[in-house]
Amino acid sequence: MRYVEEFRDPKAAKRVLAAIARVTGEIGATAENPVRIMEICGGHTHAIFRYGLDKLTPGGIEFIHGPGCPVCVLPMARVDECVEIAERPGVIFCTFGDAMRVPGTKKSLLQAKADGADIRMVYSPLDAVELARRNPGREVVFFGLGFETTTPSTALSIQQAAREELSNFSVFCNHITVPPPIRALLDDPHMVLDGFVGPGHVSMVIGTHPYDFIAEDYGKPLVVAGFEPLDLLQSVLMVLEQIRDGRASVENQYARVVPEHGNPVSLAAIADVYEARPSFEWRGLGEIDASGLRIRDAYKAFDAEEKFGIGYAAGPRVTEEPEGCGCGAVMTGRMKPTECPQFGRGCTPDTPLGALMVSSEGACAAYWTYGGARAVEEMA
Protein backbone atom coordinates (compact mmCIF):
# COMPACT_ATOMS: atom_id res chain seq x y z
CA MET A 1 0.00 0.00 0.00
CA ARG A 2 1.52 3.30 -1.09
CA TYR A 3 2.35 5.83 1.65
CA VAL A 4 2.13 2.97 4.15
CA GLU A 5 4.73 0.33 3.29
CA GLU A 6 7.54 2.88 2.87
CA PHE A 7 6.91 4.03 6.40
CA ARG A 8 7.09 0.50 7.80
CA ASP A 9 10.58 -0.31 6.51
CA PRO A 10 12.38 -2.24 9.27
CA LYS A 11 15.86 -1.30 7.97
CA ALA A 12 15.09 2.39 8.18
CA ALA A 13 13.61 1.83 11.63
CA LYS A 14 16.91 0.36 12.82
CA ARG A 15 18.71 3.52 11.81
CA VAL A 16 16.21 5.78 13.56
CA LEU A 17 16.37 3.61 16.66
CA ALA A 18 20.17 3.92 16.65
CA ALA A 19 19.82 7.70 16.45
CA ILE A 20 17.22 7.66 19.24
CA ALA A 21 19.60 5.67 21.45
CA ARG A 22 22.41 8.12 20.72
CA VAL A 23 20.36 11.25 21.50
CA THR A 24 18.90 9.65 24.63
CA GLY A 25 22.48 9.04 25.75
CA GLU A 26 23.45 12.62 24.94
CA ILE A 27 20.58 13.87 27.08
CA GLY A 28 21.79 11.61 29.88
CA ALA A 29 18.39 9.95 30.33
CA THR A 30 18.35 6.54 32.02
CA ALA A 31 15.75 3.98 33.02
CA GLU A 32 15.80 5.48 36.55
CA ASN A 33 15.59 9.03 35.28
CA PRO A 34 13.86 8.76 31.91
CA VAL A 35 12.66 11.32 29.42
CA ARG A 36 8.85 11.21 29.63
CA ILE A 37 7.11 11.63 26.31
CA MET A 38 3.34 11.65 26.06
CA GLU A 39 1.80 10.33 22.89
CA ILE A 40 -1.49 12.18 23.09
CA CYS A 41 -3.33 10.05 20.58
CA GLY A 42 -4.70 6.56 21.21
CA GLY A 43 -3.80 5.64 17.63
CA HIS A 44 -0.18 6.22 18.52
CA THR A 45 -0.54 4.13 21.68
CA HIS A 46 -1.96 1.33 19.53
CA ALA A 47 0.91 1.59 17.02
CA ILE A 48 3.56 1.60 19.77
CA PHE A 49 2.26 -1.71 21.07
CA ARG A 50 1.35 -3.23 17.70
CA TYR A 51 4.94 -2.83 16.50
CA GLY A 52 6.53 -3.39 19.89
CA LEU A 53 8.20 0.04 19.71
CA ASP A 54 8.19 0.44 23.50
CA LYS A 55 10.54 -2.53 23.76
CA LEU A 56 12.81 -1.34 20.96
CA THR A 57 13.41 2.15 22.29
CA PRO A 58 16.04 2.56 25.02
CA GLY A 59 15.14 2.41 28.70
CA GLY A 60 15.79 6.14 28.97
CA ILE A 61 12.46 6.83 27.23
CA GLU A 62 9.14 6.36 28.95
CA PHE A 63 5.93 6.67 26.96
CA ILE A 64 3.00 8.18 28.84
CA HIS A 65 -0.25 7.32 27.13
CA GLY A 66 -2.40 10.40 26.73
CA PRO A 67 -6.15 11.09 26.76
CA GLY A 68 -6.55 10.99 22.97
CA CYS A 69 -9.00 8.13 22.75
CA PRO A 70 -12.54 9.47 22.44
CA VAL A 71 -14.03 6.20 23.66
CA CYS A 72 -11.79 6.10 26.73
CA VAL A 73 -12.72 9.58 27.90
CA LEU A 74 -16.43 9.08 27.34
CA PRO A 75 -18.23 9.30 30.70
CA MET A 76 -20.49 6.40 31.65
CA ALA A 77 -23.44 8.76 31.86
CA ARG A 78 -23.09 9.50 28.14
CA VAL A 79 -23.22 5.78 27.37
CA ASP A 80 -26.38 5.57 29.49
CA GLU A 81 -27.85 8.40 27.45
CA CYS A 82 -27.01 6.55 24.22
CA VAL A 83 -28.83 3.50 25.53
CA GLU A 84 -31.77 5.65 26.56
CA ILE A 85 -32.09 7.12 23.06
CA ALA A 86 -31.52 3.77 21.37
CA GLU A 87 -34.27 2.11 23.39
CA ARG A 88 -36.93 4.63 22.42
CA PRO A 89 -39.51 3.18 20.05
CA GLY A 90 -38.90 3.93 16.39
CA VAL A 91 -35.25 4.87 16.80
CA ILE A 92 -32.44 3.48 14.68
CA PHE A 93 -29.27 4.25 16.64
CA CYS A 94 -26.10 4.33 14.55
CA THR A 95 -22.62 4.15 16.00
CA PHE A 96 -19.04 3.39 15.12
CA GLY A 97 -18.07 -0.11 16.26
CA ASP A 98 -15.70 1.38 18.84
CA ALA A 99 -18.50 2.41 21.19
CA MET A 100 -20.42 -0.88 21.17
CA ARG A 101 -18.73 -2.53 24.16
CA VAL A 102 -18.17 0.51 26.39
CA PRO A 103 -19.93 -0.17 29.69
CA GLY A 104 -22.58 2.25 30.89
CA THR A 105 -23.82 2.15 34.45
CA LYS A 106 -26.47 -0.38 33.46
CA LYS A 107 -25.45 -1.76 30.10
CA SER A 108 -23.41 -1.29 26.96
CA LEU A 109 -24.86 -0.63 23.50
CA LEU A 110 -24.08 -4.25 22.62
CA GLN A 111 -26.27 -5.39 25.51
CA ALA A 112 -28.98 -2.88 24.59
CA LYS A 113 -28.96 -4.35 21.08
CA ALA A 114 -29.42 -7.84 22.51
CA ASP A 115 -32.30 -6.46 24.57
CA GLY A 116 -34.03 -5.42 21.36
CA ALA A 117 -32.86 -1.89 20.55
CA ASP A 118 -32.23 -1.26 16.85
CA ILE A 119 -28.54 -0.39 16.95
CA ARG A 120 -26.50 -0.40 13.76
CA MET A 121 -22.75 -0.27 13.40
CA VAL A 122 -21.76 2.04 10.56
CA TYR A 123 -18.48 3.00 8.95
CA SER A 124 -19.43 6.59 8.20
CA PRO A 125 -21.99 9.15 9.40
CA LEU A 126 -23.01 9.33 5.74
CA ASP A 127 -24.26 5.76 6.09
CA ALA A 128 -26.57 7.00 8.85
CA VAL A 129 -27.83 9.80 6.58
CA GLU A 130 -28.54 7.15 3.96
CA LEU A 131 -30.47 5.09 6.54
CA ALA A 132 -32.54 8.20 7.34
CA ARG A 133 -33.33 8.64 3.64
CA ARG A 134 -34.41 5.03 3.32
CA ASN A 135 -36.43 4.94 6.56
CA PRO A 136 -38.53 8.12 6.56
CA GLY A 137 -40.80 6.68 9.25
CA ARG A 138 -37.97 6.10 11.73
CA GLU A 139 -35.80 8.44 13.80
CA VAL A 140 -32.18 7.85 12.80
CA VAL A 141 -29.71 9.03 15.44
CA PHE A 142 -25.97 9.07 14.86
CA PHE A 143 -23.64 8.86 17.84
CA GLY A 144 -21.17 11.65 17.00
CA LEU A 145 -17.98 10.67 18.74
CA GLY A 146 -14.41 11.78 18.29
CA PHE A 147 -11.90 14.59 18.18
CA GLU A 148 -11.32 17.23 15.50
CA THR A 149 -10.49 14.52 12.93
CA THR A 150 -14.01 13.14 13.03
CA THR A 151 -15.93 16.35 13.73
CA PRO A 152 -15.93 17.60 10.10
CA SER A 153 -17.56 14.35 8.95
CA THR A 154 -20.59 14.80 11.21
CA ALA A 155 -20.73 18.54 10.48
CA LEU A 156 -20.82 17.86 6.74
CA SER A 157 -23.41 15.12 7.31
CA ILE A 158 -25.65 17.51 9.26
CA GLN A 159 -25.27 20.13 6.51
CA GLN A 160 -26.22 17.48 3.94
CA ALA A 161 -29.26 16.41 5.97
CA ALA A 162 -30.27 20.08 6.30
CA ARG A 163 -30.03 20.58 2.54
CA GLU A 164 -32.22 17.53 2.00
CA GLU A 165 -34.55 18.52 4.88
CA LEU A 166 -34.16 15.07 6.41
CA SER A 167 -36.13 15.79 9.56
CA ASN A 168 -35.68 12.24 10.88
CA PHE A 169 -31.87 12.53 11.16
CA SER A 170 -30.07 13.79 14.24
CA VAL A 171 -26.65 13.59 15.88
CA PHE A 172 -25.97 12.88 19.55
CA CYS A 173 -22.94 15.13 19.72
CA ASN A 174 -20.03 14.05 21.89
CA HIS A 175 -17.29 15.71 19.90
CA ILE A 176 -14.37 16.93 21.94
CA THR A 177 -11.23 18.91 21.24
CA VAL A 178 -7.59 18.06 21.93
CA PRO A 179 -5.94 21.29 23.16
CA PRO A 180 -8.02 21.96 26.34
CA PRO A 181 -7.23 18.65 28.12
CA ILE A 182 -3.55 19.06 27.21
CA ARG A 183 -3.61 22.45 28.92
CA ALA A 184 -5.36 20.85 31.89
CA LEU A 185 -2.68 18.15 32.07
CA LEU A 186 0.10 20.75 31.88
CA ASP A 187 -1.51 22.73 34.69
CA ASP A 188 -1.56 19.63 36.91
CA PRO A 189 1.24 20.11 39.46
CA HIS A 190 1.88 16.33 39.56
CA MET A 191 2.54 16.17 35.87
CA VAL A 192 6.14 15.49 34.80
CA LEU A 193 6.21 15.48 31.02
CA ASP A 194 9.20 16.42 28.90
CA GLY A 195 7.57 16.51 25.49
CA PHE A 196 4.69 15.49 23.29
CA VAL A 197 4.02 13.47 20.16
CA GLY A 198 1.00 15.21 18.64
CA PRO A 199 -1.96 13.59 16.87
CA GLY A 200 -1.37 13.93 13.13
CA HIS A 201 -4.92 13.38 11.97
CA VAL A 202 -6.26 16.05 14.32
CA SER A 203 -3.73 18.48 12.86
CA MET A 204 -4.76 17.47 9.36
CA VAL A 205 -7.95 19.38 10.25
CA ILE A 206 -6.77 22.10 12.65
CA GLY A 207 -3.14 22.57 11.54
CA THR A 208 -0.19 22.88 13.90
CA HIS A 209 -0.74 26.32 15.46
CA PRO A 210 -3.36 25.35 18.07
CA TYR A 211 -0.46 23.67 19.88
CA ASP A 212 1.79 26.74 19.94
CA PHE A 213 0.86 27.42 23.58
CA ILE A 214 2.51 24.14 24.62
CA ALA A 215 5.88 25.37 23.40
CA GLU A 216 5.40 29.08 24.09
CA ASP A 217 3.64 29.04 27.48
CA TYR A 218 4.85 25.76 28.95
CA GLY A 219 8.23 25.35 27.22
CA LYS A 220 7.56 21.79 26.05
CA PRO A 221 8.38 20.46 22.58
CA LEU A 222 5.62 18.92 20.46
CA VAL A 223 6.05 17.07 17.16
CA VAL A 224 2.94 16.41 15.07
CA ALA A 225 3.32 12.78 13.99
CA GLY A 226 2.02 10.31 11.42
CA PHE A 227 0.83 6.87 12.38
CA GLU A 228 3.22 4.44 10.75
CA PRO A 229 6.06 3.12 12.90
CA LEU A 230 8.72 5.16 11.09
CA ASP A 231 6.62 8.30 11.54
CA LEU A 232 6.41 7.67 15.24
CA LEU A 233 10.09 6.87 15.67
CA GLN A 234 11.16 9.90 13.68
CA SER A 235 8.85 12.09 15.77
CA VAL A 236 10.26 10.70 19.00
CA LEU A 237 13.74 11.47 17.69
CA MET A 238 12.67 15.03 16.83
CA VAL A 239 11.27 15.53 20.35
CA LEU A 240 14.50 14.18 21.86
CA GLU A 241 16.64 16.47 19.72
CA GLN A 242 14.64 19.48 20.91
CA ILE A 243 15.10 18.40 24.53
CA ARG A 244 18.83 17.85 24.00
CA ASP A 245 19.22 21.25 22.36
CA GLY A 246 17.12 23.00 25.00
CA ARG A 247 14.55 24.07 22.40
CA ALA A 248 10.75 23.98 22.59
CA SER A 249 8.78 24.39 19.41
CA VAL A 250 5.96 22.80 17.46
CA GLU A 251 7.34 20.76 14.57
CA ASN A 252 5.55 18.83 11.85
CA GLN A 253 6.83 15.36 10.99
CA TYR A 254 3.63 14.49 9.06
CA ALA A 255 3.83 17.21 6.43
CA ARG A 256 2.60 14.87 3.69
CA VAL A 257 -0.86 15.05 5.27
CA VAL A 258 -0.80 17.99 7.70
CA PRO A 259 -0.91 21.52 6.27
CA GLU A 260 0.32 24.20 8.65
CA HIS A 261 -3.07 25.89 8.80
CA GLY A 262 -5.23 22.78 8.57
CA ASN A 263 -8.07 22.15 6.16
CA PRO A 264 -10.20 25.26 5.44
CA VAL A 265 -13.31 23.32 4.30
CA SER A 266 -13.29 21.14 7.43
CA LEU A 267 -12.76 24.13 9.71
CA ALA A 268 -15.58 26.06 8.04
CA ALA A 269 -17.97 23.12 8.40
CA ILE A 270 -17.13 22.73 12.09
CA ALA A 271 -17.59 26.48 12.70
CA ASP A 272 -20.89 26.49 10.83
CA VAL A 273 -22.48 23.57 12.68
CA TYR A 274 -20.85 23.50 16.13
CA GLU A 275 -20.00 25.82 18.98
CA ALA A 276 -18.04 25.23 22.18
CA ARG A 277 -19.98 24.03 25.23
CA PRO A 278 -19.18 25.96 28.43
CA SER A 279 -17.65 22.72 29.70
CA PHE A 280 -17.74 19.00 28.99
CA GLU A 281 -17.12 16.00 31.20
CA TRP A 282 -14.13 13.78 30.45
CA ARG A 283 -13.97 10.40 32.05
CA GLY A 284 -11.20 10.42 34.60
CA LEU A 285 -10.42 14.09 34.04
CA GLY A 286 -13.73 15.69 35.09
CA GLU A 287 -15.38 18.75 33.55
CA ILE A 288 -12.97 20.71 31.35
CA ASP A 289 -13.85 24.22 30.16
CA ALA A 290 -14.66 24.65 26.48
CA SER A 291 -13.46 21.14 25.65
CA GLY A 292 -16.61 19.85 23.99
CA LEU A 293 -18.81 20.93 21.11
CA ARG A 294 -22.54 21.25 20.75
CA ILE A 295 -24.76 21.81 17.76
CA ARG A 296 -25.60 25.47 17.08
CA ASP A 297 -29.18 26.73 17.30
CA ALA A 298 -29.32 27.05 13.51
CA TYR A 299 -29.09 23.25 13.30
CA LYS A 300 -31.11 22.53 16.45
CA ALA A 301 -33.45 20.26 14.48
CA PHE A 302 -30.55 17.84 14.05
CA ASP A 303 -29.48 17.84 17.69
CA ALA A 304 -30.50 14.60 19.40
CA GLU A 305 -30.01 16.18 22.84
CA GLU A 306 -32.70 18.76 21.99
CA LYS A 307 -34.91 16.31 20.12
CA PHE A 308 -34.99 13.80 22.97
CA GLY A 309 -34.46 16.21 25.89
CA ILE A 310 -31.46 14.26 27.06
CA GLY A 311 -27.87 14.91 28.18
CA TYR A 312 -26.83 18.49 28.91
CA ALA A 313 -30.23 19.58 27.57
CA ALA A 314 -31.86 17.75 30.50
CA GLY A 315 -30.17 19.90 33.14
CA PRO A 316 -27.45 19.40 35.78
CA ARG A 317 -25.71 16.03 35.78
CA VAL A 318 -24.26 13.77 38.41
CA THR A 319 -21.72 11.18 37.44
CA GLU A 320 -20.26 8.28 39.25
CA GLU A 321 -17.36 6.12 38.27
CA PRO A 322 -17.12 2.48 39.30
CA GLU A 323 -15.38 2.01 42.62
CA GLY A 324 -11.67 1.37 42.46
CA CYS A 325 -11.41 2.34 38.78
CA GLY A 326 -8.05 4.00 38.20
CA CYS A 327 -8.71 5.27 34.68
CA GLY A 328 -8.38 8.88 35.77
CA ALA A 329 -4.95 8.45 37.34
CA VAL A 330 -3.72 6.39 34.39
CA MET A 331 -4.94 8.97 31.91
CA THR A 332 -3.13 11.79 33.66
CA GLY A 333 0.07 9.75 33.72
CA ARG A 334 0.10 9.52 37.54
CA MET A 335 -0.21 5.74 37.38
CA LYS A 336 0.82 3.09 34.88
CA PRO A 337 -1.94 0.69 33.84
CA THR A 338 -0.20 -2.11 35.71
CA GLU A 339 -0.08 -0.01 38.87
CA CYS A 340 -3.88 0.15 39.00
CA PRO A 341 -5.07 -2.20 41.75
CA GLN A 342 -7.84 -3.44 39.43
CA PHE A 343 -5.61 -4.21 36.39
CA GLY A 344 -5.91 -7.88 35.51
CA ARG A 345 -7.95 -8.50 38.65
CA GLY A 346 -11.30 -6.72 38.73
CA CYS A 347 -10.69 -5.30 35.27
CA THR A 348 -9.79 -7.33 32.17
CA PRO A 349 -10.90 -7.09 28.53
CA ASP A 350 -13.54 -9.74 29.35
CA THR A 351 -14.92 -7.76 32.27
CA PRO A 352 -13.84 -4.16 31.77
CA LEU A 353 -14.35 -1.84 34.69
CA GLY A 354 -13.03 1.29 33.04
CA ALA A 355 -12.99 2.58 29.53
CA LEU A 356 -9.22 2.25 29.15
CA MET A 357 -9.69 -1.51 29.16
CA VAL A 358 -12.55 -1.42 26.64
CA SER A 359 -11.24 0.46 23.67
CA SER A 360 -8.46 -1.26 21.76
CA GLU A 361 -6.79 2.14 21.94
CA GLY A 362 -7.08 2.37 25.67
CA ALA A 363 -3.74 2.20 27.42
CA CYS A 364 -4.87 -0.66 29.67
CA ALA A 365 -6.26 -2.78 26.82
CA ALA A 366 -3.11 -2.12 24.82
CA TYR A 367 -0.96 -3.15 27.80
CA TRP A 368 -3.05 -6.26 28.17
CA THR A 369 -3.22 -7.22 24.52
CA TYR A 370 0.21 -6.32 23.26
CA GLY A 371 2.34 -5.93 26.32
CA GLY A 372 0.62 -8.60 28.36
CA ALA A 373 3.72 -10.70 28.98
CA ARG A 374 5.56 -7.79 30.43
CA ALA A 375 2.49 -6.55 32.23
CA VAL A 376 1.98 -9.90 33.91
CA GLU A 377 5.66 -10.01 34.86
CA GLU A 378 5.48 -6.51 36.28
CA MET A 379 2.54 -7.59 38.40
CA ALA A 380 4.27 -10.71 39.65
Binding site: M1, R2, Y3, V4, E6, F7, A12, R15, V16, A18, A19, R22, C41, G42, G43, G68, C69, P70, F96, Y123, S124, P125, L126, D127, G146, F147, T149, T150, P152, S153, L156, Q160, P199, H201, V202, M204, V205, F227, L230, D231, Q234, L237, Q253, A255, R256, V257, V258, P259, N263, V265, S266, A269, E361
Partner: protein
Amino acid sequence: MCLGIPGRIVEITDAARLMAMADVSGVRREVNVACVAGAALDDLVGAWVLIHVGFAMAVIDEDEAAETLEALRGLGEAQEALEQIAEGAKALAEQ
Protein backbone atom coordinates in the same frame (compact mmCIF):
# COMPACT_ATOMS: atom_id res chain seq x y z
CA MET B 1 -7.70 7.86 17.57
CA CYS B 2 -8.81 8.63 14.14
CA LEU B 3 -7.90 5.77 11.87
CA GLY B 4 -6.95 7.31 8.55
CA ILE B 5 -5.67 5.47 5.52
CA PRO B 6 -4.36 6.46 2.11
CA GLY B 7 -6.51 5.68 -0.92
CA ARG B 8 -6.68 6.76 -4.53
CA ILE B 9 -9.66 8.54 -6.09
CA VAL B 10 -10.62 6.58 -9.19
CA GLU B 11 -13.90 8.17 -10.26
CA ILE B 12 -16.30 10.98 -9.41
CA THR B 13 -19.60 9.23 -8.73
CA ASP B 14 -21.96 12.06 -7.75
CA ALA B 15 -20.69 15.56 -8.45
CA ALA B 16 -23.69 17.26 -6.82
CA ARG B 17 -23.16 15.48 -3.51
CA LEU B 18 -19.34 15.60 -3.88
CA MET B 19 -19.02 11.83 -3.81
CA ALA B 20 -16.21 9.83 -5.40
CA MET B 21 -15.03 6.23 -5.54
CA ALA B 22 -11.80 5.59 -3.65
CA ASP B 23 -9.57 2.54 -3.98
CA VAL B 24 -7.60 1.17 -1.04
CA SER B 25 -5.47 -1.80 -2.13
CA GLY B 26 -8.25 -3.04 -4.38
CA VAL B 27 -11.08 -2.39 -1.92
CA ARG B 28 -13.50 0.29 -3.07
CA ARG B 29 -15.75 2.58 -1.14
CA GLU B 30 -17.62 5.73 -2.03
CA VAL B 31 -16.23 8.69 -0.09
CA ASN B 32 -17.18 12.33 0.30
CA VAL B 33 -14.60 14.72 -1.18
CA ALA B 34 -15.94 18.05 0.11
CA CYS B 35 -12.78 18.69 2.14
CA VAL B 36 -10.42 18.19 -0.79
CA ALA B 37 -12.51 19.41 -3.72
CA GLY B 38 -10.84 22.21 -5.66
CA ALA B 39 -12.35 24.16 -8.53
CA ALA B 40 -12.42 21.23 -10.95
CA LEU B 41 -13.68 18.05 -9.31
CA ASP B 42 -12.29 15.88 -12.10
CA ASP B 43 -8.75 16.91 -11.16
CA LEU B 44 -9.12 14.72 -8.08
CA VAL B 45 -9.20 11.54 -10.15
CA GLY B 46 -5.87 9.82 -9.61
CA ALA B 47 -5.09 11.79 -6.46
CA TRP B 48 -4.02 10.03 -3.26
CA VAL B 49 -6.11 11.13 -0.32
CA LEU B 50 -6.29 10.33 3.36
CA ILE B 51 -9.62 8.70 4.18
CA HIS B 52 -11.36 8.80 7.56
CA VAL B 53 -14.93 7.57 8.25
CA GLY B 54 -15.91 7.82 4.60
CA PHE B 55 -14.46 11.28 3.97
CA ALA B 56 -11.35 12.22 2.00
CA MET B 57 -9.81 14.57 4.55
CA ALA B 58 -6.56 15.61 2.86
CA VAL B 59 -4.73 15.21 -0.42
CA ILE B 60 -1.44 13.48 0.31
CA ASP B 61 1.51 15.64 -0.70
CA GLU B 62 3.86 13.48 -2.75
CA ASP B 63 6.81 15.87 -2.42
CA GLU B 64 6.48 16.11 1.35
CA ALA B 65 6.32 12.31 1.61
CA ALA B 66 9.49 12.04 -0.46
CA GLU B 67 11.18 14.65 1.71
CA THR B 68 10.31 12.78 4.92
CA LEU B 69 11.70 9.55 3.47
CA GLU B 70 14.80 11.44 2.30
CA ALA B 71 15.32 12.75 5.83
CA LEU B 72 15.08 9.19 7.15
CA ARG B 73 17.61 8.09 4.56
CA GLY B 74 19.93 10.97 5.49
CA LEU B 75 19.63 9.86 9.08
CA GLY B 76 20.90 6.46 8.03
CA GLU B 77 23.90 7.93 6.28
CA ALA B 78 24.69 10.19 9.22
CA GLN B 79 24.38 7.22 11.55
CA GLU B 80 26.69 5.12 9.39
CA ALA B 81 29.22 7.95 9.29
CA LEU B 82 29.09 8.19 13.08
CA GLU B 83 29.54 4.46 13.41
CA GLN B 84 32.55 4.62 11.10
CA ILE B 85 34.08 7.43 13.14
CA ALA B 86 33.45 5.44 16.33
CA GLU B 87 35.03 2.35 14.81
CA GLY B 88 37.99 4.40 13.61
CA ALA B 89 38.45 5.86 17.08
CA LYS B 90 38.24 2.39 18.58
CA ALA B 91 40.82 1.09 16.12
CA LEU B 92 43.10 4.03 16.93
CA ALA B 93 42.74 3.45 20.65
CA GLU B 94 43.58 -0.21 20.21
CA GLN B 95 46.74 0.55 18.27
